[in-house]
Symmetry: C2
Subunit: 369 residues, 2 copies
């Protein structure tokens, strides 16, 4: 169904919004109270550009929550089950955040940008409220706020060429989630090796809202030899790569073990963190569902799903598929979702209730590619 | 500009979403991670229906944050500067929520629905995270969660007739924000005298997601004699009535005094609450800007504003207009926004930077009507 997106002052516009519109934006959503571009009208071209060349994405909706002050690290340690020992300026970490019940409430990338300043590059929930409630209640000596920072994604196999042409060969040496503060024609930014695809890429964390047009134009120009074009977090590629979309794949009870995040959950670290007791108890009991891939039988899926699709096994509800699509690279209909461990353990097929009727599907490990 | 709204599993659908689509939904936004209908294609008809007859609104995006347990009231007292003495089941209160710095982070209606259960009917920010961080950090004995509750608004001068035909004459006796739990054809709900307009009305808090179609159909049927039709929180009427839109009218530093909420800020109550020290300090210093109305010169405004508009006074930045439109009832271009106290105190005109150039405007008290 086609519904127009209301544009008004309540939802924020990214510093790249005008440039995105000029580049042919056709569809968008809202994420962290900001418009998030989702399509420029040719999904197939956007997919192939990401897989083969390079795409530029307005992902300013990845808002930053800054923790600044003497207790910045102490607060960060409280917020995530990941052990932050060895954190250094210049190397980010993926840090699941759980509530006191152990349910996941966000999965940001954490970057220590100064001795007393940490950024969380968040998914779509108000972690600024969460973190400032914790800090305020405990009277920690730390400010929690949203700085003027807006990421521009450059994703795809040729992203490294575009970004090294812009900044120099040092960007080739950055490890995954590595970053460095720099500037481009006087535009202040942080260059990070990161992004919500598995095709390789960088994010330029713009540090001056007013330079959005300038940065967009500079990247578009530098990318021309590499066939750059506008794009957005890609529906097909994220399923192929098994990337987690907080909110789409999770519900209010999802725990990090169900998402396969075990290696980030340091239950035996000496530091306390929110949700520790609950996660220890969960670990002991084990999980009853898991985030998995699906290969779905039947005719090629012509569209993306608008709703979660129910999954059944042995006649009983066994979870949901949160996203599914035909993958040109896998050559199958594929999906991701949360499914009961019973059919996983037995290696059996499940039934997915699609808009056009039930289909059988095999559960497979992620990623597909 | 026209951008399509992406529909997918990441953003939730209201229980009335399908019914809204069948009723001719043409535009929507996202609010509290859920699609929010904003237009059915005829803004003029929607306005007149609200002013003269009765409209039904899918406002399920007013999500509820439930505080349940022995410490529910203790937590609620911490969350709001309003004094909750005298709170009773059946009578709601408007309760601004501030952070530790005294900035406003939401402005819900609070309803005590049982001895140990309180709901906050929230604007667009994750107060569930805020409240559960406070409760968890202080180890309060209270669960914080989002219950299965979705309001359907019935707004306009004839709303009272529709709702009394459905539920009986007792609904006429409800005070503003008064409510009662009841049912309709076995559909569990709470009837409240409330809603985001000044035209009078009710909200039916549906307590079973699966009965959304049933409730919508029942209300549409009961409203036929009164010319009911679909609508949404109305852009023109909210400006005329001076209603605050959290997020549109506020920024990260907005305090409740700037919004004229003084009577809800009980600084001398014996109970502690978050932001008390900051608000006491603010009260002492006084405000430097205030949420006000504007009467804007020049040609009739043909469209609603997509962005905040800058305001200047004496050549200096003096705030912003967050919404403006031509009002058929006032017979002028009107707006609301946050403006420096300097021109207010001097009774002088300001300049507003519209898309088509600067215009002069008079600052006036709210509401317009």
């Amino acid at each position: 169904m086609a519904v127009q997106l209301s544009i008004g002052a309540r939802v924020r516009k990214s510093p790249f919004f005008q440039a995105s519109c000029k580049a042919g934006l056709t569809a968008a959503s809202v994420y962290n109270h900001m418009y998030m571009p989702t399509s420029y009208g040719d999904p197939e071209a956007e997919y192939h550009r990401l897989i083969s060349d390079v795409a530029m994405w307005d992902v300013a909706v990845e808002r930053q929550v800054a923790l600044k002050g003497p207790d910045a690290l102490a607060l960060a340690r409280l917020l995530t089950p990941r052990n932050l020992d060895g954190l250094v300026i210049g190397q980010g970490k993926y840090v699941p955040i759980c509530n006191h019940s152990g349910a996941i409430i966000n999965d940001p990338v954490l970057m220590q940008v100064a001795e007393d300043e940490i950024w969380l590059s968040i998914a779509d929930s108000d972690i600024q409220l969460w973190a400032s409630a914790v800090a305020g209640t405990l009277k920690l000596d730390v400010d929690v706020y949203e700085p003027d920072v807006s990421p521009l994604g450059i994703q795809g196999p040729k992203a490294v060429d575009v970004v090294s042409d812009l900044f120099g060969d040092w960007v080739r040496e950055l490890k995954y989630f590595g970053f460095r503060a720099t500037e481009l024609d006087g535009i202040p930014l942080v260059v990070a090796r990161s992004g919500w695809s598995k095709q390789g890429g960088y994010e330029l964390y713009l540090r001056d809202f007013n330079r959005g047009d300038d940065l967009w134009a500079r990247v578009a120009e530098a990318g021309k030899p590499y066939n750059i074009g506008p794009g957005a977090p890609n529906y097909i590629e994220r399923i192929e790569s098994g990337l987690i979309s907080y909110g789409a794949d999770t519900d209010s009870r999802t725990n990090p073990f169900e998402l396969g995040m075990d290696k980030f959950i340091a239950l035996d670290q000496p530091h306390d963190f929110i949700g520790k007791d609950a996660l220890i108890a969960m670990k002991k009991v084990g999980i009853s569902r898991r985030f998995m891939g699906f290969i779905i039988d039947g005719p090629t899926l012509a569209a993306t799903n608008e709703d979660r699709l129910l999954v059944s096994f042995d006649g009983e509800n066994a979870g949901y598929v949160s996203a599914c699509v035909y993958s040109p690279r896998v050559g199958e209909n594929i999906g991701v979702g949360m499914v009961s461990t019973a059919p996983i353990d037995k290696g059996q097929t499940v039934t997915i209730y699609m808009d056009d009727g039930p289909r059988s599907a095999r559960i497979v490990p992620l990623p597909f590619l």
